[in-house]
């Protein structure tokens, strides 16, 4: 299967601080990929590297087989909707569409017009006068009408109310059925990604903690609860992701491909939020505990 994004030992440094380091991922085509992690984990840096808005300090990144922003053909294949879905507040909706026609060789004017009409966006209105939800939908329309092979969205729904958030994700998912493109979107809210993503990357403290297909991640991670036990005494095939102990009880989140036979454990399945939190839990030992907002 072809890859939409491949990174090897990718790193980006701002001054003395690494915003992203030793990032090695391979994302197959045809997925809606969720990039999740606390604020400041390096999500925006990774997305901007993929879009070619930043140059790597270390390692290499390939997007759809080419160098990010490596030429007009590459630029036409990748759509990028930056954080908070920015639009030009002084331009009208219609002017945004005209701008799209001029700037994009593969512009789908029919798709843009049809979407704007269906959403009921008044084409004579300046973008600055639109509601947050409408501005986000306008930015999404521009991203879709570009007809990219990969659409990258940085925190697209973070500033939207629940209804606008839902409408935005509905529009995005519907478009993936119609036009078959890959999507990478970031969020610090796991609940936003839970339904829409089938591939997940967890980024904490500038490093990729885990990446893979959601179904596979959920079927290989388990919560074990039972009498207190030293993690060193777990079977070799069980990788401990997080561990918590009371005087008498231990609770582990482990990753394993094999079934768990030990009758001492009560085994429960994790949902996506539990899984992400388990990977973030690893950093609790440090005093700078990352904050992940959990909202439903």
């Amino acid at each position: 299967m072809t890859s939409v994004l491949q990174a090897q030992e990718l790193g980006k440094k701002y001054g003395k601080r690494w915003a992203l380091r030793e990032c090695t991922v391979d994302i197959p085509a045809g997925h809606v990929v969720g990039l999740v992690g606390p604020n400041g984990a390096g999500k925006t840096t990774l997305l901007k590297l993929a879009a070619g808005q930043l140059e790597p300090t270390a390692g290499a990144i390939t997007v759809l087989g080419g160098r990010p922003a490596g030429g007009p053909a590459q630029l036409a294949k990748v759509g990028f909707v930056a954080q908070d879905t920015p639009v030009y507040s002084g331009l009208t909706v219609a002017e945004h569409l005209r701008l799209g026609t001029r700037l994009n060789p593969r512009w789908d004017a029919g798709l843009a017009r049809e979407r704007i009409a269906r959403l009921g966006l008044p084409s004579g209105h300046r973008a600055g006068k639109l509601s947050g939800g409408q501005r986000a939908q306008l930015a999404l329309t521009l991203g879709l009408a570009k007809r990219p092979e990969l659409l990258i969205l940085d925190e697209p729904v973070a500033s939207l109310d629940p209804l606008a958030r839902r409408e935005f994700l509905q529009g995005l998912m519907e478009a993936t059925v119609e036009h078959e493109f890959s999507v990478v979107l970031s969020s610090h809210l796991v609940a936003d990604l839970e339904r829409v993503c089938d591939f997940l990357i967890v980024l904490v403290d500038s490093r990729v903690q885990v990446a893979g297909e959601v179904d596979r991640l959920l079927s290989t991670h388990h919560r074990l609860t039972g009498p207190r036990r030293d993690p060193a005494r777990l079977p070799a095939g069980q990788q401990v992701i997080s561990a918590r102990h009371t005087d008498r009880q231990s609770t582990f989140v482990i990753r394993t491909d094999a079934p768990i036979h030990d009758p001492a454990w009560t085994v429960t399945r994790l949902d996506l939020e539990d899984l992400v939190l388990a990977y973030m839990d690893r950093y609790v030992a440090d005093d700078r505990r990352p904050v992940l907002e959990v909202r439903r």
């Binding site: 997925h31 809606v32 839902r166 994700l169 509905q170 529009g171 998912m173 519907e174 993936t176 059925v177 119609e178 609940a191 839970e194 339904r195 829409v196 993503c197 089938d198 959920l218 399945r269 949902d271 439903r296």
Partner: protein, 134 residues
């Protein structure tokens, strides 16, 4: 456009994966006779647009139903019901429900609250189905 016969919903707190929830809802609709042979399931696009979920979730659910022989996909047209689950089992629902009501009354008289009843039912149900498997 075809008329929508059933509409899916998702319970995010149920602990059942979204694709499994779609499968269960189709089976339930077949059991209740809401869906009959020849009926079309909602298109992937309709489901995705309605629930804001990943298209692969819907495809996976429909593939499983196809594997069970309940539906068949006609490429470029849609997915159609090919078998039914209603019938014999539906007729048995009435008497079984009456039995269950009598049992519930007994449980209440014995002083069990809602949570204890649910727990007792679920543990018995699980033990029984595990014994069947073993």
């Amino acid at each position: 456009m075809e008329k929508l016969l059933i509409e899916f919903y998702l319970d995010s707190r149920s602990g059942v994966s979204p694709y499994q929830q779609l499968v269960q809802q189709v089976r339930q609709a077949l059991r209740l006779g809401l869906l009959r042979v020849g009926d079309q399931l909602p298109t992937v696009k309709d489901v995705v647009a309605g629930l804001a979920i990943n298209p692969n979730t819907v495809l996976k659910a429909y593939r499983e139903l196809e594997h069970e022989g309940l539906v068949a996909a006609r490429p470029g047209v849609g997915t159609f019901v090919t078998a039914t689950l209603a019938g014999a089992s539906l007729a048995a629902h009435g008497p079984l429900r009456a039995d269950l009501r009598r049992w519930l009354e007994k449980a209440r008289r014995a002083g069990l609250d809602d949570e204890s009843i649910e727990a007792l039912f679920m543990t018995t149900f699980r033990t029984a189905s595990q014994e069947e498997i073993a």
